[in-house]
């Protein structure tokens, strides 16, 4: 990894409701929380909510963006901390957690526009 251990970030700022419908079809998850406003509001949310797994998809895209030549992700884990809404802007950030000759582990965070952590996870990378 780069010697300063400072990683670029990835910003996802245009999560549309159409994207949630696309993700429903692509993932086969038809939970109405993500595309039926009345269902989401009855469940206590202010609007439809973004799939946790879609946010994890952003995190995976980000982890792969950070890979160097011939590196592979062998493990990726996410803890879903806060609900994400389609109006949110999500920024993915990483920090080096540990490294040896064969692998390294990155701590990855997805943060919303209010600097709240919505997803915390890690990626294990084989060199």
């Amino acid at each position: 990894m780069n010697s300063n251990n400072v990683f670029p970030t990835l910003v996802k700022d245009n999560i549309t409701k159409v994207q949630l419908v696309k993700y429903a079809g692509a993932s086969g998850d038809y939970t109405p929380l993500h595309f039926t406003e009345s269902f989401a509001k009855e469940s206590g949310y202010k609007d439809v909510i973004v799939y946790g797994m879609l946010t994890m998809g952003f995190m995976s895209q980000y982890a792969e963006m950070l890979l160097e030549e011939n590196q592979e992700i062998t493990r990726i884990k996410a803890r879903f901390k806060k609900v994400v809404y389609p109006s949110d802007t999500i920024t993915c950030k990483a920090e080096l957690k540990g490294e040896d000759d064969h692998s390294l582990i990155l701590d990855i965070f997805a943060i919303n526009q209010d600097e709240e952590i919505v997803l915390a996870g890690e990626a294990e990378i084989r060199k």
Binding site: T31, S43, M53, L54, Q61, E64, R75
Partner: protein
Amino acid sequence: MIILKIDKSLIGYQLEPYYCEIEKGAIRKFADAIGDENPIYYSEAVAKSKGFCSLVAPLTFPTSFRPEKEAKWFTSIDRKRMLYAEQEFRYKRRIVAGETIKCIEIVKDVYSKFGKNGELTFIVKDKEGYDEKNELLFIERQTLVVKGEKKE
């Protein structure tokens, strides 16, 4: 409809294996839904240049592998009270288009915690994916959380 109690008696509950054919179109659609433009998800030529036989499936793609009939304990959970708490994927190698993956789902743990909104029930479920040589390819470990009283 039989509603299974969501408690420790669910541990070890296993579905019949089901099979997923990994399709190029499904990979492209999934990558597009995530907004990931990495060409290994769209272009066979690029995927092959990186040493893969065909398009590579995104890391979270196994979330789209579902049995024709979901487990009753799973469908019985009130979706208004359910969220994903955690998800983890471990890979031996990447999944590529053209493969057929055998999936086995097993409930690994069920436990409760008391949060600020009352009781939270956590269900940990593994999805193991095997390739056509019956080699374990990936394990997806999913932790669901259900708010409120346990579903009886």
